[in-house]
Symmetry: C4
Subunit: 205 residues, 4 copies
């Protein structure tokens, strides 16, 4: 199996898992893994397909701008995947449409503050005395604009980005680390949505 | 396999999927695909059966009025399926009892306004500056009355209809497209139910 | 396979399904089918076992008082199963600990009024102009006391009973009909809990 | 199969079940069974692994302080597992990150009062006239501090401990009993979170 086929199989498996969780409804969302750094090359899930039924072939190679360098049509969002991989040095980027992040962005449009929660360790941060603010940027269709907004708010210790009224990006060294971070962050966002008391002590009830 | 058996197998598969999601509780809901246009013929799931346990044989052919033209008993709602297929030119119509659409119809009885949400692309609309109003009609048992109400509110760019205190119809070119649209719309309805701020800026808290 | 083994297999299958839905947590809940009417004999799931892991042997035959007439230990609640089978003429009785019925009983301790909802057809009632009141009785450990309370509130057209701060009983001609009714009723209860406007027009917000 | 391999297989099976319920997101949570009492030895799930993908080998033997006595790296939390096993005489301890217990600890930081609910029988208590207070302790990273707080609030009839802003510990004679108690307690906590009327009659709405 080629490296691309292996990446495609891994992406298909993760996509089916997220689809089963309701986080990749219809054809929404996309996942990527970095194939090479110099120049930057990513394997990205192909556009327009049911995310619960991908095969190892449903993958496109894109460059640092998100443009296809193999056959197939990548998602327009591949450009933001590439930007995140370049800026954050991530090995894998997952973009899903879980509901909780989008609800949280609606309530905390300037970033979602989280603090003093054990689950933050699963996001790569400390369980105590470590204020984590998950960045929120406005939605848009121009990936350069979104990429610029991402980069302005980027902190190396915060591997996530919520796009308001859209979805969430989470990244890590590989697809599994990205998934673990996403699973823990989604739990944290549901917690703060339910309690409505955020990490800087505001009561947003 | 005949065309009808293929349609029956496809309908059974989709029904099992929706039953697993809790959207076809008991024997509720029904699905259809268009078999021919002139005259209009639809394959509709048979009435009164467990929607998680259908086989390829549990299908009835109906005409443009929803009357059976093969053996078997179609749902009374087959008449509305046929009307939608005729008016909207749909190739497949799905009718399920997901909870969110019925809750949304209760809060927005004159139609559910959605706007500026990325997930609207999965419903065939734009993510920005495109007000989508999902039509709501009162429930009833006479499919001609429901069909007339549907037709009065029909817009070619809005492939869904909520029947208040009942359930939702979504359609598309085929069963998969109808499912993708339904999955995305259900997400959108849960979003607006949770935030309680609708697409025309009303706060219905 | 004997009639009892067939009943045991059917009960185990249904119990696993309910356990998967989170409605038979731990060893909670019990299911029964009528084996004979004169004298009344029921096959009831055995007590104290994990309801997701029952086998066809995990079944006890009880009489009209709920006392064992075969080996094995029936649930104390077998007495209420037998009473319901006798009074309602049911062929199968299911008792589960779904959350929505218990929450509804808390809000409507004198019975949960439902009306003008299509899903009522799946409970054996009409979708319009037919007020359905799901009876609620206080919890207790004496099945004769519970049975008397059940019988005082019994109506032949309402095949369900909520025991407050405990769980729900639903019955039908066979296990499948009981399940369909339960699935539809649970949906209806979630609907009325969410909208908080009940079937007699009270706003319990 | 050695006793340790059997314990590892049992732990892996339970962990996969909890991961499927969303209660062991990412690598969070840990499970243990007692291998011997004199001296105390526990088999604990290994640290840092995906809890849905454990094998029978992903297990570490620890002593009464939670220190490894076999190869592998136990979770730091193994120290609290050992303390609970010693103080409560438990044969199995499960620690998961279900959301409801953490939400309940936020609302009832001095302990969650439950009373007059049938499901309390599944937690080993009485359904009537038996006030159960689930202890809540503050989160921390020093297992001796947490263990001391646990021991101060310990009652032999209450086999659970919530660590605020973190997760829940539940124990029993074996993994199955611990699971049954956890499943029932999680249901009870969701009930009291929804009704917001607690077991001492306070309305915390």
């Amino acid at each position: 199996m080629t490296e691309l086929a292996a990446a495609g199989a891994a992406l298909a498996g993760e996509a089916a898992r997220y689809a089963g969780m309701g986080w990749m409804r219809g054809t929404s969302g996309n996942l990527s893994v970095v194939l090479g750094r110099d120049p930057l090359r990513l394997a990205v899930t192909a556009s327009g397909l049911d995310k619960g039924e991908l095969t190892a072939e449903d993958v496109v190679v894109v460059d640092g701008e998100g443009a296809a360098v193999s056959g197939g049509v990548p998602s327009a969002e591949a450009g933001l995947h590439a930007r995140i991989a370049a800026v954050a040095g991530a090995g894998a980027v997952v973009h899903v449409h879980a509901l909780a992040p989008v609800l949280a962005a609606q309530r905390w449009p300037d970033g979602v503050p989280l603090r003093d929660l054990e689950m933050l360790k699963g996001f790569g941060r400390a369980a105590h005395d470590d204020l984590v603010t998950v960045p929120v940027i406005p939605n848009g269709q121009d990936m350069r604009v979104l990429g610029d907004a991402f980069e302005r708010g980027f902190r190396a210790d915060t591997p996530a980005l919520i796009v308001a009224r859209h979805g969430i990006y989470v990244w890590g060294g590989d697809l599994r680390q990205a998934r673990h971070r996403l699973e823990c962050l989604e739990w944290l966002l549901r917690f703060v949505l339910e309690t409505r008391i955020d990490g800087v002590g505001r009561d947003v009830r």
